[in-house]
Symmetry: C2
Amino acid sequence: MQTIKDVAALAGVSDRTVSRVVNGEPNISAKTRARVEEAIARLNYIPNLAARMVRTNRSGVIGLITDVVATTPNSVDIIRGVQDRVSRANLSLLIANTSGAAGEEARIWRTFQEHRIDGVLFATMYHHAITFDPATHNMPTVLLNCFAAGRDDVPAILPDDYQGSHAATCHLIAQGHTRIAYVTLNPLILAAELRGAAFVDAMGQAGLPIRPDWIRPGIVGAVGEEVMCAYDAARDLLARPAEDRPTALLTGNDEIAMQCLFAAASLNLHVPDDIAVIGFDDFRIISEQVVPPLTTMALPYYEIGMRAADKLFAILAGTDDQPTIERLACPLVERRTV
Amino acid sequence: MQTIKDVAALAGVSDRTVSRVVNGEPNISAKTRARVEEAIARLNYIPNLAARMVRTNRSGVIGLITDVVATTPNSVDIIRGVQDRVSRANLSLLIANTSGAAGEEARIWRTFQEHRIDGVLFATMYHHAITFDPATHNMPTVLLNCFAAGRDDVPAILPDDYQGSHAATCHLIAQGHTRIAYVTLNPLILAAELRGAAFVDAMGQAGLPIRPDWIRPGIVGAVGEEVMCAYDAARDLLARPAEDRPTALLTGNDEIAMQCLFAAASLNLHVPDDIAVIGFDDFRIISEQVVPPLTTMALPYYEIGMRAADKLFAILAGTDDQPTIERLACPLVERRTV
DNA sequence: TTGAAAGCGCTAACAG
DNA sequence: CTGTTAGCGCTTTCAA
């Protein structure tokens, strides 16, 4: 592999001069620069980042820690968002997965330190609180899709579940629905709480009644071993005479919405004429391909990735002037079920 | 940040000795080692990988290039497989995404070279041929889910679409089905070709007839702008009297299978009693949550990631004795639709 | 505008 | 078993 000295020799200059050209420093005569650049091209010289780093003590590498990515497929969009932003900044991305194991996580932090990472992005695949003490790692960190329990000094980018659910409910109401039932997420998780509160608030603000028997869990069980029961819940809600039936189903997420669609089909109910259904998350593999295609609130995963990387850079540059914790809106994606 | 010299000074040994301890080299007295380790712990010393690399010329970093991950959610499992194997080998993973853009890809290879990556894993999210000339990059590379068009000297790990589709057909036949229709993938893609051929072969081997009007595309259109038509295809196949109807639907993938399930529900047909359905891919967000849960052939994404990393390490170590191109079996996942 | 010397943190090569 | 010397490829510092 060619080194800076090979280039210097070929160009007939000192290695320091080559370094200047490579790093785009000023105060180089055009002629010298041209000669150096030609030598670089001819030798196909590629700078050795590690050597540079030993000197400068800045790695140009960002670390991304994820927990169990696998379970929620679309959360890859977080990674994509991060990648796009990181590559735009001409940095590199080191990535590692905890698989949920605590020992593994410690190992990862250590590896990142060995690499003298500039900063880290810590992403979870469910929106939830984590125990996180920045002091133990001592690296600029931004949390994605999670936040540090009991403290407000750790930068985090979160989806705005409340806003999304509120908007979904309002959308249904705006379409003229007054008889709205809610098939919920697992009540154990944070998003369920946030989304549920928004539903209650939006209904109240519209002066609409909430029937307790029209709020049904679509998923139950401990986190990690949930079981779906949305199909049965929806059948139960829908297998009644029209006048005793909701006209719209707000759902906890797209999987639940999908099961509601199956329930409607099994009852020969037409969507959206007999019953409207609105999802949440916009898992496109479901929402786009279910019959009919699902109207849903999108989780802004890609934007979370982008914005988090953005924020990290701002923090590193000392120019971050946004709130420590930012919530990104969930946009409505209109398809055919409302 | 503490350096090896700080540790050496505190332990009262030379820096070389500290280096030996850190790297687990032999020929150190237990006493010295203990002293050094104590100093390391006391100073919270963390080796500087970049400095090490400048000397050893090995980075301990593997690069992973992906194309559009987002579109096929479960393909994250490829990344997980790679990660798990890479971390087991105590290496790090640098990851980059081409977003499909050629310029971007060139940039990524260059970045990898700047990092003096030990080897690269190149993963695509659809099984297809790519144009790839190892000579242009000059880094040990293993292809995942794709292969170099027109050459057989580039290591690759692929899913065995033929085997999977053959097994799926045989499974249906073994359950007693003789009237099997096929709702296919977009005929433009490679997997469709492979899976289609296997269906034809398996039926032939069982002496079963193939009705041309029972082979229907479930997806059509140019790659990237496909439109689903599986619902209509399935309705058409199933909206006939029982004696003129298939008893089983082999499908190109889980999304197609899902639409078939919707079609069956809309026709008040019971799955699997009236009509059996088998999917392909095992996108669990669909296959586990559809009603009823889907029997399907799993794409071995996680294993592809694992095995590819494994193969790359073997190649780097000069011990790879497997075929250049390996095909991994697609296992049957039995749920409730057959 | 350019170059010489020094040194970043580490390990290879050798000596003891 | 341990230490010394040199040097990896680059940038910093300072002088020319």
